[in-house]
C-alpha cells in the first residue's frame, strides 16, 4: 500500500502538470514572436517606423522603377502616392517628427494614377544600404502589388515580422547555449528578447534593422554555442557569413566581428605558440573570406546604384573629440539617458510615444541591479567568470565601435546620429549578462522565480507599450 503523503511532499506537489520541455518553450517563443510582431505591425501607424518612408520607397523603387536608389539626398523623390499617404497621417514636408496624432482613416488626398507609383527622382536617404533586405522584401510587395500603397507597406512590414520571428528562434537557441542547464532561464532570456519594446518596433516596421537583428541573433547563437563546444574552421566560416550578412543589412553589422577575439580567448584551449598561430590564421581566413565577399557584393551594389560610399565623407578637425563629448553629455547627461534608457527600451514611432517616466526609472534600476549582480559574479564566481566576461565583451566591443562610428560621422557633420535602437544587435549578450546578474542576487533555488518574473515583467512592458501607442496614436 502506498504510504500517505507527508506535508512536505504535499507542499512540493505541482499545481499543474509540468511537462515543460525545450520544444514546448521553443514553439511558444516563436508563436509569441509572430503574434506580437503582427500586432505591432498594425498598431504602429503607417510610415511611423523610423525612416520608414525611405526604406519602403527603396523596395517600391526597385519594383516599379527597376533601379537602385541613389543615396544622401532629400526625401523629395518619393513616389507621389507615398507622399500622399504620408500626408493622410499628418506627415508633411517636415517629416514625421513634427506630426501630431491622433490618427485614423482621414484621407485628405488620393493618388491612384499608375504614374503615382514611380519615384520622381532616384534619390533616397536609404540608398546607401545594400539591397539585401529590400530585395528579399520584393515578394511581399508583389503579393500586395494590386492593392493600395498602405496595404503594400503593410505587406512589406510582414518581411520584418518574419525576420523578427526568425531572430526569436535564434535568440532561444542562443539562450539555450548560454544557460544549458536551465530551461527556465533560457526561456526567460528569449522572451525578454522577443518582448523588448524597441526590438518589437524595429521588427514590425519596414527597416533594415530587422535584418540586422536577425543576423545578429544567429551570430549570438553560434557565439554561445562555440563557447561550450569550441570553435572550428567551419564555425569561423559561418561567423564570417553572418557578419557579412549583418554588414549587408547595415554597415555597423561589421562590428559584430569585434566580439570574435573574445570568443576565441574563452572557447579555445591554449596550445603551443606555433599551433596557436596556425589556428588563428586558419580561423581568421575562414572568418574573413565571407566578410570580404560580402563587402565586395556591397561595393558592386553601390556602384550599380551610382553611390560613392556607405558613409558620407568625414573631415577631420571640423568637429573634434572634445566637442563630441560635450554634446554627448550635454544637458545633465540627458542624451546619455535618452540613448541608453529611453530610446533603447521604448520610445515609439518618430518619438511621439514614450513610456511613463517611472517605467524608465524602474528599467534603469533593474538593469543596474543586473549589472551589479554580474560584476559580483565576476568577482566571486571563478567557474562562471568566463561566461560573464565573454557575454560582457560580446556586448561592449561591438557597442563601443558603434559609438566610435558616431564620432567618425560627427567630425564632419556635427550631428549625433545614434539612437537606442542602434544597439539592438547586442541585445542578446546584454540579456545574458543581466540574467546572470539577476540570478546572482537571489538564492539558487529562486532560479525559476527569477525566470518567471522576467517573463511576466517583459509581457507587462510590452502590453504597456502597446497601450501607450494606442492612446498617443489613436486617442
Amino acid at each position: 500500500m502506498r504510504p500517505p503523503v507527508t506535508d512536505a511532499e504535499f507542499d512540493s506537489l505541482p499545481l499543474i502538470e509540468t511537462h515543460f520541455t525545450s520544444r514546448t518553450a521553443f514553439v511558444a517563443v516563436v508563436v509569441l514572436a509572430l503574434a506580437k510582431g503582427l500586432v505591432w505591425s498594425v498598431v504602429l501607424p503607417p510610415w511611423y517606423g523610423p525612416d520608414e518612408p525611405s526604406h519602403y520607397a527603396y523596395v517600391q523603387q526597385m519594383v516599379e522603377d527597376r533601379r537602385l536608389p541613389i543615396a544622401y539626398e532629400a526625401n523629395a523623390g518619393f513616389a507621389p502616392e507615398i507622399l500622399c499617404s504620408q500626408n493622410n497621417v499628418d506627415i508633411g514636408p517636415f517629416g514625421p517628427f513634427r506630426a501630431e496624432p491622433p490618427f485614423g482613416s482621414t484621407p485628405r488626398c488620393t493618388a491612384s494614377s499608375p504614374s503615382d507609383r514611380h519615384a520622381t527622382d532616384p534619390n533616397n536617404p536609404a540608398g546607401a544600404y545594400a539591397p539585401v533586405y529590400y530585395g528579399a522584401a520584393i515578394p511581399f510587395y508583389l503579393l500586395a502589388q494590386p492593392l493600395s500603397v498602405e496595404a503594400r507597406l503593410a505587406a512589406v512590414r510582414l518581411w520584418s515580422v518574419l525576420l523578427g520571428t526568425l531572430a526569436a528562434a535564434f535568440a532561444f537557441l542562443a539562450a539555450r547555449w548560454a544557460f544549458p542547464s536551465s530551461l527556465p532561464l533560457a526561456t526567460a532570456a528569449a522572451v525578454l528578447f522577443v518582448l523588448q519594446p524597441m526590438n518589437s518596433q524595429q521588427t514590425a516596421v519596414v527597416n533594415n534593422d530587422a535584418l540586422l537583428i536577425a543576423a545578429a541573433a544567429a551570430f549570438w547563437w553560434r557565439y554561445f554555442r562555440c563557447l561550450r563546444k569550441g570553435i572550428t574552421t567551419r564555425d569561423g566560416f559561418i561567423f564570417g557569413g553572418l557578419v557579412g550578412l549583418a554588414y549587408l543589412a547595415k554597415p555597423q553589422g561589421l562590428f559584430l566581428a569585434a566580439a570574435l577575439p573574445a570568443l576565441y580567448w574563452f572557447a579555445v584551449k591554449r596550445e603551443s605558440i606555433r599551433t596557436e598561430l596556425t589556428r588563428i590564421v586558419r580561423l581568421g581566413a575562414a572568418v574573413a573570406a565571407p566578410i570580404v565577399g560580402c563587402v565586395a557584393i556591397a561595393r558592386v551594389f553601390l556602384s550599380l546604384g551610382g553611390n560613392p560610399s556607405f558613409l558620407p565623407p568625414s573631415k577631420e578637425g571640423v568637429h573634434g573629440l572634445q566637442l563630441y563629448l560635450m554634446d554627448f553629455i550635454w544637458g545633465n547627461y540627458e542624451r546619455v539617458y535618452w540613448m541608453y534608457v529611453t530610446s533603447f527600451w521604448g520610445y515609439f514611432g518618430s518619438f511621439q510615444a514614450d513610456l511613463p517616466n517611472f517605467v524608465y526609472v524602474i528599467i534603469t534600476l533593474v538593469v543596474v541591479a543586473g549589472v551589479v549582480g554580474a560584476v559580483w559574479l565576476l568577482v566571486t564566481s571563478r567557474p562562471l567568470r568566463p561566461l560573464v566576461l565573454a557575454s560582457a565583451l560580446g556586448l561592449l566591443l561591438p557597442a563601443g565601435l558603434t559609438q566610435l562610428l558616431e564620432f567618425y560621422l560627427f567630425r564632419s557633420t556635427g550631428s549625433l546620429v545614434l539612437q537606442g535602437r542602434s544597439f539592438l544587435m547586442v541585445l542578446i549578450p546584454l540579456i545574458v549578462v543581466l540574467i546572470l546578474g539577476w540570478r546572482r542576487l537571489f538564492p539558487t533555488r529562486a532560479n525559476s522565480a527569477v525566470a518567471a518574473a522576467v517573463v511576466l515583467a517583459a509581457t507587462a512592458l510590452n502590453v504597456l507599450s502597446l497601450a501607450v501607442m494606442l492612446e498617443v496614436f489613436y486617442g
Binding site: 503582427l38 589556428r279 561566461l387
Partner: protein, 261 residues
C-alpha cells in the same frame, strides 16, 4: 505552496497593471493638427498680460481646452535650485462665443510643473521634455460650439515668468489656423478635448475602430485583437510553466574546459 503563492502574487500584479491601464481616464477624443510642433516656442507671460486666441472646436461634445504651460516661479528649471513650496500661478480664463456671449469666466490655478527628481534623473529624454510643459484643462460649457474666443489674463503676483507656448504662422504648413489677436503672426498652442474623461476601457471601441481603419485587409476585426490576447496568454502560459518547472535542477552554467580543434 510557496510557488502557488508566488504565482498568484505575480498574476495579481499583472492584473493590477492591466486594470490600471484600462481604467486610466482618457478624453473621448482629441482635436487634430492643433499644436504645431515645427515652430513651437516659449512665450513668457508677465502679470497683467492678456492673450486672446480664437479656438475652432472641431466637433460636438467639446469638453475642455488643454493649455500647455510651464510654471516654476522664480525657482529656475533646476530641481535642485529651489526646494520651497511654490504657490500656483493664476490665470483668468474668459470664453466667449462668436456672437460675443460670455460662456465662462473662471480663475484657473496653474500648479508647479517641476517633476520630482527621481522621475527624471537627467530629464525623461522625450522630445519635448526640454520645455518641461504640463497641460491644464480649461473646462468648456456644454453649449460651446463653433469657434470660441479664449482670453487669458495672468492675475497672480508671484515672482517669475509663467510660460505658455506659441507657434509661428509663417511656418505653419496649413496656414489656416487662427492666430492670437495680440500677435497676428503667432498661434497660442492649445489642444481641444472632446467628451468627459472616462476609463480607457470605455473608449476601446474608438481605439479598435481607428486601428482597424489603418489595418491591412488581411487582419480584419477581430483577428488583431485575438493576436493581442494570444500574446498575453502565451506570456502567462510561459510564466506559469516556468514557475512550476521541476525544481532541484543543478544550475551549473560554468563553461566546460574548451575543446581544442
Amino acid at each position: 505552496m510557496k510557488r502557488t503563492l508566488a504565482w498568484s502574487a505575480g498574476l495579481l500584479l499583472f492584473a493590477a497593471m492591466l486594470v490600471a491601464i484600462l481604467t486610466t481616464p482618457v478624453y473621448g477624443d482629441r482635436g487634430r493638427d492643433e499644436i504645431n510642433l515645427l515652430s513651437i516656442h516659449e512665450l513668457e507671460v508677465a502679470t497683467g498680460t492678456v492673450l486672446t486666441q480664437p479656438v475652432p472646436l472641431q466637433r460636438e461634445g467639446a469638453y475642455a481646452i488643454d493649455l500647455p504651460y510651464r510654471w516654476v516661479g522664480s525657482c529656475g528649471r533646476s530641481r535642485f535650485s529651489c526646494r520651497s513650496e511654490l504657490k500656483p500661478a493664476r490665470v483668468q480664463a474668459r470664453l466667449t462665443s462668436s456672437d460675443g456671449a460670455v460662456l465662462a469666466d473662471t480663475i484657473e490655478s496653474l500648479a508647479d510643473t517641476r517633476v520630482p527628481y527621481w522621475l527624471q534623473p537627467t530629464g525623461d529624454g522625450s522630445f519635448l521634455q526640454d520645455y518641461g510643459a504640463a497641460f491644464h484643462p480649461i473646462r468648456l460649457p456644454p453649449k460651446a460650439t463653433g469657434t470660441v474666443l479664449l482670453s487669458l489674463t495672468r492675475v497672480d503676483n508671484e515672482p517669475g515668468p509663467l510660460v505658455f507656448f506659441v507657434s509661428d504662422l509663417a511656418k505653419n504648413a496649413a496656414g489656416l489656423r487662427p492666430t492670437m489677436l495680440e500677435s497676428p503672426g503667432q498661434m497660442l498652442d492649445l489642444q481641444t478635448e472632446y467628451g468627459a474623461p472616462r476609463p480607457a476601457l470605455a473608449k476601446a471601441a474608438v481605439f479598435v475602430s481607428r486601428v482597424q481603419s489603418l489595418a491591412p485587409p488581411w487582419l480584419p476585426l477581430p483577428l488583431l485583437e485575438l493576436l493581442l490576447a494570444a500574446v498575453i496568454a502565451i506570456g502567462i502560459f510561459l510564466y506559469t510553466r516556468i514557475l512550476f518547472a521541476p525544481a532541484g535542477e543543478p544550475i551549473d552554467e560554468a563553461l566546460s574546459p574548451p575543446r581544442s580543434r
